[in-house]
Subunit: 224 residues, 2 copies
Amino acid sequence: MLHLILADSELERMPPEIAVDKAIRWSARRRGRKPTELILDSSFHYRAMRRLPGKERRGRPDIVHLCLLLALDSPLNLEGLLRTYVHTREDRVITVDPSTNLPRAYRRFEGLMEQLFMTGEVPPERPLLRLEESSLAKLIKRIGPRKTIALSEKGERKGLDELFEGVSVRDEVCTIVGGFPHGEFISDVEELADEIVSIYEKPLTAPAVLIRVISSYERRFGVV
Amino acid sequence: MLHLILADSELERMPPEIAVDKAIRWSARRRGRKPTELILDSSFHYRAMRRLPGKERRGRPDIVHLCLLLALDSPLNLEGLLRTYVHTREDRVITVDPSTNLPRAYRRFEGLMEQLFMTGEVPPERPLLRLEESSLAKLIKRIGPRKTIALSEKGERKGLDELFEGVSVRDEVCTIVGGFPHGEFISDVEELADEIVSIYEKPLTAPAVLIRVISSYERRFGVV
């Protein structure tokens, strides 16, 4: 089984220090939410975000959306061999049920995330996404993997075919991919991972890394 | 070189027969466009689409968006070994410059597509996307590939590693992936392709197929 963690993801609610911004209050009113109930999105809130520390990487729910669509639609997931988690910069963890049929339209995904951060689970009738407070260390402890591999530009260069060498399909293997646009992990990944691996000499986007990790595991075990 | 065509993609402008719908006219006014200048999107226009033939598959610019992001961000594209094209249900072709930095926010992508369908090329200062009238047959003729492979659930089952067997990196190879949510190709793919291949026994989404084709080519030639 492959456990895939999108770590330090830039998914969070509107930070209180910028929730007083006029444009933010206006857009909250239009959506029928309190400003602090909105999900921070740099493509809409860039003006208010000028004052925010780490503004050049924060507010990227689109990365989470794209990564979850790719993970859930993968043959590996269809075969029941993938478990997917989103860990955020504020140490929250979303556990994603493999049968989740995620909204493909970004606006609907955004609405779903607002609801998830308000109620802790969605959809109400049969919860498929659950949100809880948890550090990356705590999540990995809960999974209890035989091996944990983090993907990072700064890791040891390896071919994709070597990534899961020596791993059996019955092993619980955990892979960590950064859910942020650039920069470093915030969590102490060096401490938590058994191996840090780089699959390409240039920086890659989170979805580009994630899908190659899944695809590599699929090939290793003859799924595709 | 790998030429990747997203074929019969469900990307089109608002069909005139539903452009008179009240909600459509309203949303056009809000965007400062004529109703027929909007891009059809089933997640926003589903009510008006009730009357549209083929309504269960049309209006999916989100598929094009996701596929283009994945193609452009791939190591294969970064190495200059990928050319990407979008062919639409109405026989238009978008030729995508490999250096295109596509908007990640769906709303901005939608705006870009509106502009592209109005002017034939975007962005104005240095066109990276060009739109023209062309059938799939004409596009393939223009590429002049040594081999054309179409991916389809109905094709001959092959492993991903066999997909580019016997192909050299100097060959122009063309792969066709359907840019629609379900159903069959509209274009006569059986006539146009040398091979029709299925990579998995169950239906897969367009992005799931496309990224595995790219990743298979990358591995074949040691890019990743």
